[in-house]
């Protein structure tokens, strides 16, 4: 299962519909300070079902919607879509039936939230179940945000044991 594209519109600084092609084994994302690289990481967390605003450097969930710039008004909604290509992998488990898998999340300014799997509306629960046991769940180490390494260095012995317990 390989992530082939990330599509964003209205998500933080990605106000314009944007397609990021990441279809390679080792992709480096580069650019100046403040240009939006970490915002892409927040988008991936968000579409996988993150509910804690703080994990995406926000205070409330609606903070992820583009909130305007000198030239533009705030966006009415944020949407992020992950497109997985499953053709080359052994197709096993919950993912087996998909050749291509699209996971999408939308949040409007009015607070309407929805999740979509291959174009079909589903509940957040269904997205979590799909990724259960794939290492992309909430307690996983698939997404290492800026500053996480420093927190590990500073972690007390009880906190490190807690990480072992969560992983067990």
């Amino acid at each position: 299962m390989r992530l082939s594209r990330i599509r964003l519109a209205g998500f933080k600084t990605f106000v314009e519909p944007t397609v990021i092609a990441v279809d390679a084994p080792f992709v480096a994302i580069v650019g100046p300070n403040g240009c939006g690289k970490s915002n892409v990481i927040d988008a991936v967390r968000w579409v996988l079902g993150e509910t804690r605003a703080a994990s995406m450097r926000a205070q409330t969930m609606s903070d992820v919607i583009f909130n305007g710039s000198a030239e533009r008004k705030p966006a009415a909604r944020a949407s992020v879509e992950l497109i997985f290509d499953n053709l080359s992998e052994a197709r096993v488990g919950a993912w087996a039936r998909y050749e291509t898998l699209s996971v999408k999340r939308i949040l409007t300014r009015e607070g309407e939230s929805s999740y979509w799997l291959n174009g079909q509306r589903v509940r957040r629960r269904d997205v979590l179940d799909l990724f259960l046991g794939t290492g992309l769940g909430p307690r996983a180490y698939a997404i290492i945000e800026q500053g996480m390494v420093n927190r590990l260095i500073e972690a007390k012995p009880e906190e490190l044991r807690h990480l072992l317990e969560e992983a067990a």
Binding site: I29, A142, I153, P157, E165
Partner: protein
């Protein structure tokens, strides 16, 4: 349960030790349990970079601490692997030799796991298959552009 925790600890400890040696080009490390009762013991990182004394992570230099923590991240990832792994600027405090080993390890792991890595480091960029450039030509608005790896490294040579 006690067995589950002990098993998890065994697996993470072995993976941590292995990833540490790969990243440091030698040396050894462990995630040691303090105290006998695992259910309320603490876990402490003990690390020994090549040619140095054994000790807790607090005794290491800034870059050594970061590289040790990266080894632990990879150990937890090994325990519960995902189809992809995303790393945001973890290579910031690394010198050139450690950055090369970090990038080379990712290349190796990328045979089975897709890596998306945010970096300002030219050595990490040079090891990637593909570069996605994020720009902000219009104030407050992000756009992306595909960047050619050799060209980017060339462009990125400091204009000194």
């Amino acid at each position: 349960t006690r067995e589950a925790l002990q098993q998890t600890h065994r697996v993470v400890n072995r993976a941590f030790s292995e990833r540490f040696s790969q990243l440091f080009g030698g040396g050894q490390a462990q995630l040691a349990l303090t105290g006998d009762e695992i259910l309320d013991a603490g876990a402490q990182i003990i690390a020994q970079p090549p040619g140095k004394k054994n000790g807790t992570i607090q005794l290491l230099s800034g870059g050594e601490k970061a590289l040790t923590a990266i080894a632990l991240v990879f150990a937890f990832f090994d325990l519960n692997p995902a189809p992809f792994c995303i790393l945001d600027e973890v290579d910031a405090p690394l010198d050139d030799a450690n950055t090369q080993r970090y990038a080379a390890l990712i290349r190796t792991m990328a045979e089975r796991t897709q890596f998306l890595v945010i970096t300002h480091n030219k050595l990490t960029m040079a090891a990637a298959d593909r570069l996605v450039g994020v720009t902000m030509r219009e104030q407050g608005v992000s756009r992306t552009v595909d960047v050619d790896v050799e060209r980017a490294v060339q462009l990125a040579q400091p204009a000194v």
